[in-house]
């Protein structure tokens, strides 16, 4: 094994020294130990790593959490307000039983990692750290390994039938130096169906992993809104494995955030499955730093699967957007339909968009395409609206909303899409200048 560069070695050792493994680790012990070994071997990401070319990992590596004051978001209705869901609340990474609903729901089994991990056996053992491990090749994801090794808690969801209603994990951020590490596992059994919602920022800096193992004909919907906190640093990984004829849809709305790195790692192992990953992000660099990175890796290792990536960003006053998307079609994954689009709207001369839309294809009977565009507001459209009496600021908002709304169309349930659209509109109103 090649020795790690000294700086990397030092950063990794310092960070590990500040973390502690849980005492009661039961069935997670092997997965945690393996993940720790992976992390020690790869080291934390460094500024010279190609996968971190456009997002500097220093703030995510730092032993001391870059402070982030909590943000009062009570000037608008809570995220997913009005959506009937089973609610689970985490305050700075710590489960709040008082504020949460009972963990009972028809069609699903729900438990918490910190509660059940002391046991020797649990259904989640087959998944915990397993999908993360599969996602480490061909690109290492050290923060995901760190999460598997050190996660303090998380929600374990096993869908055995059609879930009676969505499950919503609500994050509350109260401490300016919180640094939670949460690891959620979703197992969708054959033909089962469940929707998971995530709302808010889990802490000042957070590292979350979601592993979703979807069996044949299973359906998993995931919709996430990352809150409005301007100073928080987000580092998330979503791993999904799809069986035959299964469906996975994941959508993320990001408003503000000093640093966001959202990774999606999707793998098709069964034929005729479909995965859609989408995201809308908007940030205003004038109020606070905005750096948003969407990194997606889709692996087709089955026949006749469909993957779709739709990512849009609106960047204002020196905001920076990154998109790294890849479709890998393995030999034999014939009849693959892979689609990827990344677009950004730069509202001024200081904002930047950096993209790497990648294809790696080893099968011939496939239709794969990707597109990426960057530009400013279409002057003609703006003129059209203004000529009809729409004031300049309102016209700009309408165009921004229309641009981002295309991604909202990727969300299956209209009520959820509508609630996110309202949040976007409110954001634009607050940033009208």
């Amino acid at each position: 094994m090649m020795a790690l560069p000294q700086a990397k070695q030092d950063a990794t050792e310092a960070r590990l020294a500040a973390l502690t493994l849980p005492v009661q680790d039961g069935w997670t012990r092997a997965a945690r130990a393996d993940a720790l070994a992976r992390l020690t071997k790869s080291g934390l990401p460094g500024p010279r790593d190609e996968y971190w070319r456009w997002t500097r990992p220093a703030e995510l590596n730092a032993v001391d959490v870059p402070g982030a004051a909590p943000m009062d978001e009570s000037d608008e209705a809570p995220i997913f307000d009005g959506i009937d869901a089973l609610s689970l609340v985490f305050r700075d990474g710590v489960f709040d039983a008082e504020a949460s609903d009972d963990l009972t729901l028809e069609g699903v089994e729900i438990s918490r990692l910190s509660e059940v991990q002391g046991a020797d056996i649990h259904w989640a053992r087959e998944v915990y750290g397993a999908l993360e491990l599969r996602g480490q090749d061909p690109v290492v994801r050290p923060f995901a390994a760190l999460n598997t090794a050190f996660a303090s808690d998380g929600v374990l969801i096993r869908a055995t039938g059609k879930a009676a209603k969505p499950i919503c994990i609500r994050y509350v951020h109260e401490k300016s130096d919180s640094d939670p590490i949460l690891h959620h596992v979703v197992k969708v059994e054959e033909g089962a169906e469940v929707t998971l919602l995530e709302a808010g920022a889990p802490g000042a800096r957070f590292n979350t992993v979601l592993e979703a193992d979807i069996a044949d004909r299973g359906t998993f919907h995931h919709v996430r809104a990352q809150g409005r906190n301007r100073d928080r640093r987000a580092n998330t990984h979503t791993f999904a494995r799809l069986g035959e004829e299964s469906v996975c849809k994941s959508f993320t709305l990001s408003l503000n955030g000093a640093l966001t790195r959202n990774e999606h790692i999707i793998e098709f192992t069964g034929d005729d499955a479909a995965a859609h990953v989408a995201g809308a992000a908007i940030g205003d660099g004038k109020v606070a730093k905005f750096h948003h990175d969407d990194t997606v890796f889709v692996t087709h290792d089955a026949v006749n699967c469909e993957s779709r990536q739709v990512f849009k960003k609106v960047l204002k006053n020196g905001a920076l957007g990154v998109f790294q998307g890849k479709i890998l079609v393995k030999a034999g994954a014939q009849k693959t339909d892979g689609y990827q689009i990344s677009q950004s709207l730069l509202l001024d001369g200081d904002s930047q968009f950096l993209a790497k839309p990648e294809l790696e294809i080893y099968a011939d009977d496939v239709a794969c395409s990707h597109g990426s565009t960057t530009g400013s507001i279409d002057e003609e459209m703006l003129f059209y609206l203004k000529a009809r009496g729409v004031p300049h600021a309102r016209a700009m908002d309408l165009l921004v909303l229309a641009f981002l709304a295309e991604t909202l169309a990727e969300i299956e349930e209209d009520a959820i899409a509508e609630s996110l659209r309202t949040r976007l509109e409110n954001w634009l109103e607050r940033h009208a200048d």
Binding site: F353, E358, D364, A367
Partner: protein
Amino acid sequence: MDDQTVMDQDVKEGVDQETVDAVKQLSGAYKHGWNTEIEMDFAPKGLTEDIVRLISERNSEPEWMLEFRLDAFRRWQKMDEPDWSMLRYAPVDYQEQYYYAKPSSMKEKPKSLDEVDPKLLETYKKLGIPLKEQMILAGVEGAEGAPADAKGERKVAVDAVFDSVSVGTTFKKELAQAGVIFCSISEAVQEHPELVKKYLASVVPVQDNYFATLNAAVFSDGSFVYVPKGTRCPMELSTYFRINAENTGQFERTLIIADEGAYVSYLEGCTAPMRETNQLHAAVVEIVALDDAEVKYSTVQNWYPGDENGKGGIYNFVTKRADCRGDRSKVSWTQVETGSALTWKYPSCILRGDDSQGEFYSIAITNNWQQADTGTKMIHLGKNTRSRIVSKGISAGHAQNTYRGLVSMHPKAKNSRNYTQCDSLLIGDKCGAHTVPYIEVKNNSSRVEHEATTSKVDDDQMFYCQQRGMDEEEAVALIVNGFCKEVLQALPMEFAMEAQQLVAISLEGSVG
């Protein structure tokens, strides 16, 4: 279909002789795979400071040139070979190569064609170079004054580089009348040191990358072009590169300078004999375009690709870069890459001048076990700069074909435009096609659009062609030519014809 079946096939009714001849000529795996048995003058194998000094000495170079080389060599020793490409190959032993080889007969200039090593002449004939130009290339004194073999024939000035040295440049006088300097770079070092000093390594710095640094240390020859202010070069300039000797690396260096308002079209062709071992080629091409200048650079790269089992072939590591220094300058790269076992090549444009333009048109065909990692960089620095990238990758057999590119819009490159289109075609299920584009947009008045598709040869199109009597291979060649149309159209006439045929040859044996 193998060659023999083509030869033995009865001519179908209605097929004219020309077609039959064309097919016969095209059949056979690699047309340029022959080898010329010529007495060569080699430097000892391996790379040391002494070899660098020897190369410099053989070229009778001035002290500053030797220093340039030694500096590069010392830097190169401290560098690591890049490993970020999608190319997979056994490590190259840089000490197992010859870094200098020259036909011995070139020691003294022959007086007439009769004195020229007939084998050298044979080489040019096989390459399809006209007789009069053969004389000049063979270094026959006074050959330039001889009448051309056909009046009114379109003139193309040729510089031929055989292994390490330039063996001759044609039409020098006529070009000199127009003020154009077209000679080998070793001559330029002697005769135009001020130009060489000013521009050499000004586009590709000595320490730019591993292969460019190696080239700076050991380049033995290459072409030099200077087109003065306001001059439209009266003919197309062309270079033939040929690696002949075994275990020889070719390291040519080309420098093209288009002064204000100048125009030049430059063609480059490459061939090599079939060898069982891999041979190294690490070239550097630098182009400088000043205000209102335009350079069109076309390449048909047909180095030996190795046999159908992946044995042998050229390792082609090339750094090509154009600096559009002047306002309104334009550089256009067109490449047809059908040869080489490995291709590592990214012809790029630095769009420094306001309103400057860069273009990249590429066809990369890989068959059998070939691997290509090629693309371009368009660096927009000036205002209102425009770039266009059209890349067509075709992969067959067990080949891997990667497009890798960068489009970068710097904050000051206001109102700039880029359009990129990368299409890949896969023939067979054992090959791979990859796209790795980097897009960096740092201002909002610019527009960047990138599109990429990957598909296979359309079944309906195949059916249509076959239904009209074409066999499978012909049909694929036709469809692939259609797929490449936009790039083929960007090539100069002579090259376009050759390229179309090459497309068909390169894909032989890829179907059925």
